[in-house]
C-alpha cells in the first residue's frame, strides 16, 4: 500500500520537471534537486528546493516538491506546511492534496487526513489509493461502518485485491458481522497461509472474547510478518487478558514502533501508565491518541483523571463536564466529576453527580438477569 503512495511523490517530481524545463537560470538547480529526490537524497533535494524558492517563492510546485522531500525525511509537520502553501497557490496541482492527506495520516492527524481524502475522492472518485487510505483512516478512528460503506463497492470492483479484502473483512468482524467477514477471511486463506489471514482470525476471536484463541492466531500472524500493522496491538489485547500487563505493554510498544500513531496502543499504554500513577509518562501517549481521534471520550477521560490526580481539579472539572454533556451515560466520568466537585468544595454539584451515578448504576443493575429472574 505504501509503495503506491510513493508513486505520487514521483509524479509530483515529474510535474515539477515540466516547469523547471521552462525556466532558464534555475534549470540546473531543479534538475539536480529532482535527481537527488529520485536517488533518495531527500536532505540534498530539500536544500536545492529551498534555494529555488529563494528565487521563485511563488511557484507552488517547488513548495510541493519540497514538501515531498521533507516527508521523505520524516519531517511531516514541515511537509504539511509546504503542502499547504502549495495548495493555497495551486489547489489543482495533481497529487498534492493526496500527499497532504498522507502527511496528516503519518502524523496521526487522521481527522484532517479524512477531510482531504474526501476532497480528493470528490474530484477523482476512482482514485483507488485515496479510497483505500480513506478507508484505513476510518478504520483507525473505529468507524467500521464507514469502512464498510467505502470498501464494499470497491471489493465488488476488485474482488482479487487482498488489501481491500483484508481491511473490509476486519471492519465487518469488528462491526459484529462475523459471517460476512468470514467470507473475506476465506478469500485470503485461499491464497495460502498469510499473516493477514491470521490477523483477521485473531480479530474475530477477540470479538468473540476467545482471547486464548486470538493470542494463538496473532502469534502466528506475527511469526509470518512481525511488521504487519495492527497485529501487535491485537496481540497485546489478547495478552492483557491471558498474560501479564508487562507482556501486553511490550506488544503495544512494538505496534508503536511500526505505527507511532496507533490509537489503541497509545490509549492503552497511557491508561496503563496512569494506573501505575506515572502521569508524566502517560500524557504523551494519550495526547498522541487524541491527535489520532480528536475528541475521543475515553482518551479525554484518562487525561481528565490524570489532571484530577495531579491536583489540577478545575481543569479536570471542565473536561469532565464536557465529557458527561456529550455522553450522559458515562458512569465513570460522573464518578470522577463528582469527586472533582467535592474537592472544589461544591457539595451540591458533587451530590447531584453522585445521584446520577446511583441512577445509572440502578439502571444497569435492573438489566441484570438475576434481577429479571426474580
Amino acid at each position: 500500500m505504501w509503495k503506491s503512495f510513493s508513486l505520487i511523490f514521483f509524479l509530483l517530481g515529474l510535474a515539477a520537471l515540466g516547469w523547471a524545463q521552462a525556466a532558464q537560470s534555475p534549470q540546473a538547480l531543479m534538475d539536480d534537486a529532482i535527481a537527488k529526490q529520485r536517488a533518495g537524497d531527500f536532505p540534498g533535494a530539500a536544500k536545492q528546493y529551498r534555494s529555488l524558492l529563494k528565487l521563485h517563492p511563488e511557484v507552488a510546485a517547488i513548495h510541493s516538491n519540497l514538501g515531498a522531500s521533507l516527508a521523505g525525511m520524516g519531517l511531516f509537520e514541515d511537509a504539511i506546511h509546504e503542502y499547504k502553501i502549495a495548495l493555497n497557490r495551486m489547489p489543482g496541482l495533481p497529487g498534492l492534496r493526496l500527499n497532504l492527506a498522507l502527511a496528516y495520516y503519518k502524523t496521526g492527524r487522521i481527522a484532517e487526513a479524512v477531510e482531504e481524502l474526501i476532497r480528493v475522492r470528490q474530484r477523482d472518485p476512482d482514485n483507488s489509493q485515496a479510497t483505500l487510505l480513506l478507508a484505513d483512516c476510518h478504520f483507525r478512528m473505529g468507524q467500521n461502518k464507514d469502512v464498510i460503506r467505502i470498501l464494499q463497492p470497491e471489493e465488488a470492483k476488485h474482488p482479487d485485491d487482498l488489501a481491500i479484502a483484508y481491511l473490509l473483512g476486519t471492519a465487518l468482524i469488528r462491526d459484529d458481522k462475523p459471517a460476512e467477514g468470514q467470507v473475506l477471511v476465506d478469500k485470503i486463506l485461499r491464497n495460502g497461509d498469510s499473516a493477514e489471514a491470521h490477523l483477521m482470525l485473531g480479530t474475530a476471536k477477540i470479538q468473540a472474547a476467545d482471547f486464548a484463541g486470538a493470542r494463538d492466531e496473532l502469534a502466528k500472524a506475527l511469526a509470518l510478518n512481525s511488521s504487519l500493522p495492527g497485529a501487535h496491538v491485537l496481540y497485546a489485547h489478547a495478552l492483557q487478558v491471558t498474560s501479564s500487563p508487562e507482556e501486553a505493554m511490550k506488544e503495544f510498544q512494538a505496534e508503536l514502533a511500526i505505527d507511532p500513531y496507533n490509537f489503541d496502543s497509545n490509549l492503552q499504554i497511557g491508561a496503563m501508565l496512569r494506573k501505575e500513577q506515572k502521569y508524566d509518562e502517560a500524557k504523551p501517549y494519550l495526547m498522541r491518541a487524541l491527535a489520532t481521534r480528536p475528541g475521543d471520550l475515553a482518551v479525554r477521560y484518562q487525561l481528565a483523571a490524570i489532571a484530577l490526580s495531579e491536583g489540577k481539579v478545575d481543569e479536570a472539572r471542565r473536561e469532565l463536564e464536557s465529557i458527561v454533556k456529550e455522553s450522559p451515560g458515562f458512569t465513570e466520568a460522573h464518578v470522577t466529576l463528582s469527586m472533582a466537585y467535592f474537592r472544589l468544595k461544591r457539595p451540591e454539584d458533587g451530590n447531584r453527580e453522585k445521584g446520577i451515578v446511583e441512577k445509572l448504576t440502578a439502571e444497569a443493575q435492573a438489566k441484570q438477569p438475576g434481577v429479571k429472574a426474580q
Partner: protein, 568 residues
C-alpha cells in the same frame, strides 16, 4: 520431583535470609516466619463443607469465617469455625456443623462444640464475637444464608441460642458482621453486612448451555440489598435502627466491614466492602432529630468507593489501622483478580488516597482475589504489617485463565524502615509456598507467646493454623482492656504508648478481614527497646476517661480495667 519457582525461592532464601528470619539457639538453624500447625498436631480435624453442587449455587463459594475467642475466660484463645448447613438449596446427607475448639494450653485443641451447643443449623457464613451484655463473657453471632444466630455465653462452657429473643434473626444472606458502640452508651451495637437478594424458590443459575456446565454467577447479576444496624437496648434485645438512614438507602452487596474512627471525632464509623458495586463509608455524624442518629455515606467523595478509573470493583476483605503511625486510621480493601487491592491512606480530611502502587501491593495482588486480611505487627517491631488470604471464587477458573487459579497463595507484607510494605512471602515459610481456597482469616495469639498467630478458613477444606515464629527477640506487652462505663470489650479505645523515645498509638477498631473475628487483646510491639515508659488508655464514651500507666512489665499479658489500671 518438580520444584516450583516459589518453592525454589523459599529453599534458596532459607540459606541466606537472616534479616527476616530469627535464629534459634546457638546453631545455624533458621525458622520460617510462620509455621503450619498440622491438624495431627493441633487436634483440629474439622473440615469445611462448601456444599458444592453441579448447580453452583453462589453461597457455596463464600464461606467460611473463623474466629479466635476466649469463650471460657481462661486466658487462652479458643477457636470457632463456621460451616455450611441446611438451606433451601441444600439438604446435607451427612451431619454438618460449626466447630468450637477449646485451647488445651499446650498447642492442642479439643472439640467442645456439642457441649457448647454452637453447632448451628443454617448455611453459616461468618462470625462476630463480642460481649454484648457486658457480663465479661464473649458471645457469638453467626451470619448465614438463611438466618443469623446469636449465641449467649452461659459462663459454663455452654451457650444459649437467644436469636429470637434478641431480635437479631436477620433474614436474607448476611456475611460479615461487627460489634461496636456507635452511640457511646457503653453497650455494643451490631452492624450486619447483607449480600445480594438470592431469595425465591428458583435460584438463578449461570452456565454455558453449549457445554451444559453451570458456573458461579458473578454477583453483578443479582439485586443489591441494604445492610442492617442494630442498637443494643441493654436488656438483651436489639432494635434495627438503620431505617431512614444512609445505611438503609445504600443498596450494596456487602462482604467485609470494619468499624473504626476515620476522622478522629470519637464516634466509630463503618467501612463496608461491596462486591461489584461501590464500597460504602458510613460516617457516624451523631444524634440527629429526624432519624435519631445520622449516618452519612461518603465513599465516593472520600475516594474509597470506586477505583481510580471511576469503576466499582469487587470488594471483599477490608481492614483499618494506622499504617503510617500518624494518628489517623488508614483502610485496606481486597478485590478480585485484575482489579488489584487498595491501600487507602488517610488524608486527615475525610478523604483518602490509594498508595497500593507505592507499597507494591497493587503489583503483588494483580492476579489474586482477596478475602481475609489483617493489618497487624507480626514481628513486634512496632510497625504495622499485613497478611492477605486469597482464592478465586470460581472453581472453574483454571480452565479458562492461563494465569488466575482457583487456589491462590497467601501474601505477607512487612513494613520496612522506609515505611513501605514489602512482600516477604517468599521468606514466610512453607505455607506461603502453597495454594489455598482461602476465605476467612483471624489473628490471635493462641500460645500466649506475644507473637500473633493466624487462622485461615478454607472453602471446602481444612482450616490453616499458622504459628508465628517471627517475633522472637523483640519485646512486647499484651494488654486485655476491660471497659467499665464504656463497653466491656473496649471497642473504640485508643492506646498510646511511648517506648525508646518513640510514641505510637493504636485505635481499637473491630471487625476487619472477612467473615471473621480476632483475638480481643492487643499486643504492643516495642522492638529491642527494654521498657515501655508510658501507656495511656483513652477509653471510649460514655466515660471518655484517660488512664495513664507507668512501671509496666514487658513480654507478658496484663489486664487493664477502666479507671482501675492494671489488675493482673
Amino acid at each position: 520431583m518438580i520444584i516450583t519457582r516459589r518453592e525454589w525461592l523459599w529453599l534458596a532464601t532459607a540459606f541466606s535470609a537472616t534479616r527476616l528470619w530469627r535464629r534459634q539457639g546457638p546453631g545455624l538453624a533458621t525458622v520460617p516466619l510462620f509455621a503450619e500447625v498440622l491438624p495431627t498436631s493441633s487436634g483440629i480435624s474439622w473440615v469445611h463443607d462448601n456444599a458444592m453442587s453441579e448447580n453452583h449455587y453462589l453461597p457455596e463459594t463464600l464461606g467460611p469465617g473463623c474466629a479466635f475467642l476466649d469463650f471460657d475466660n481462661d486466658g487462652w484463645m479458643d477457636i470457632f469455625l463456621v460451616n455450611s448447613g441446611p438451606s433451601d438449596f441444600w439438604k446435607p446427607t451427612k451431619p454438618v456443623r460449626n466447630a468450637l475448639y477449646k485451647n488445651n494450653r499446650d498447642g492442642t485443641f479439643t472439640d467442645v462444640t456439642e457441649k457448647a451447643g454452637v453447632g448451628g443449623a443454617a448455611f453459616g457464613m461468618g462470625v462476630a464475637v463480642g460481649d454484648y451484655d457486658n457480663d465479661g463473657w464473649p458471645d457469638i453471632f453467626v451470619t448465614a444464608y438463611g438466618k443469623c444466630t446469636l449465641y449467649k455465653n452461659n459462663h459454663d462452657g455452654t451457650f444459649a441460642d437467644v436469636t429470637e429473643k434478641s431480635g437479631l434473626a436477620t433474614p436474607g444472606w448476611t456475611t460479615s458482621a461487627v460489634w461496636f458502640d456507635y452511640d457511646n452508651d457503653g453497650k455494643l451495637d451490631l452492624f450486619v453486612c447483607s449480600f445480594v437478594d438470592y431469595s425465591g424458590e428458583h435460584k438463578f443459575e449461570c452456565g454455558d448451555n453449549k457445554i451444559g456446565k453451570k458456573y458461579y454467577c458473578i454477583p453483578r447479576v443479582f439485586r443489591p440489598t441494604a445492610s442492617f444496624l442494630y442498637h443494643n437496648n441493654g436488656d438483651g434485645t436489639f432494635t434495627e435502627v438503620s431505617k431512614g438512614t444512609d445505611i438503609a438507602k445504600a443498596l450494596g452487596k456487602g462482604l467485609g466491614v470494619v468499624a473504626t474512627d476515620v476522622n478522629n471525632d470519637g464516634r466509630i464509623d463503618l467501612f463496608v466492602a461491596n462486591d461489584t458495586v461501590q464500597n460504602f463509608l458510613f460516617m457516624n455524624r451523631g444524634p440527629a432529630p429526624a432519624v435519631k442518629w445520622k449516618w452519612e455515606e461518603i465513599a465516593l467523595q472520600a475516594g474509597v468507593g470506586f477505583s481510580e478509573s471511576g469503576q466499582a470493583r469487587s470488594g471483599m476483605g477490608v481492614d483499618a489501622s494506622d499504617l503510617d503511625n500518624d494518628g489517623w486510621q488508614d483502610l485496606f480493601v481486597a478485590n478480585v483478580d485484575h482489579e488489584m487491592f487498595s491501600v487507602y491512606e488517610n488524608n486527615k480530611d475525610e478523604t483518602f488516597h490509594d498508595s497500593a502502587q507505592q507499597h507494591g501491593v497493587a503489583q503483588a495482588t494483580r492476579l489474586l482475589s482477596g478475602w481475609g486480611l489483617k493489618y497487624f505487627d507480626y514481628d513486634n517491631d512496632g510497625a504495622i504489617d499485613l497478611i492477605l488470604a486469597n482464592g478465586h471464587p470460581d472453581d472453574m477458573i483454571d480452565g479458562y485463565s492461563m494465569q488466575v487459579k482457583y487456589k491462590e497463595p497467601l501474601l505477607l507484607f512487612h513494613q520496612g524502615e522506609d515505611h513501605k510494605l514489602h512482600n516477604v512471602s517468599e521468606q514466610a515459610g512453607p505455607a506461603f509456598q502453597r495454594y489455598f481456597p482461602a476465605r476467612g482469616l483471624a489473628v490471635g495469639d493462641f500460645d500466649n507467646d506475644g507473637a500473633i498467630d493466624i487462622l485461615i478458613g478454607n472453602n471446602g477444606g481444612a482450616p490453616l493454623l499458622l504459628k508465628n515464629q517471627a517475633a522472637k527477640g523483640n519485646n512486647w506487652l499484651g494488654i486485655h482492656l476491660e471497659g467499665v462505663r464504656s463497653n466491656r470489650d473496649a471497642i473504640g479505645a485508643k492506646i498510646v504508648w511511648i517506648a525508646g523515645g518513640k510514641k505510637r498509638s493504636h485505635f481499637k477498631s473491630n471487625g476487619g478481614s472477612y467473615l471473621s473475628s480476632h483475638d480481643p487483646r492487643e499486643v504492643l510491639g516495642i522492638g529491642n527497646t527494654a521498657k515501655i515508659d508510658e501507656l495511656e488508655i483513652h477509653w471510649p464514651g460514655p466515660s471518655k476517661q484517660v488512664d495513664k500507666l507507668t512501671n509496666l512489665p514487658i513480654n507478658r499479658y496484663i489486664r487493664i480495667i477502666e479507671g482501675k489500671g492494671i489488675v493482673g
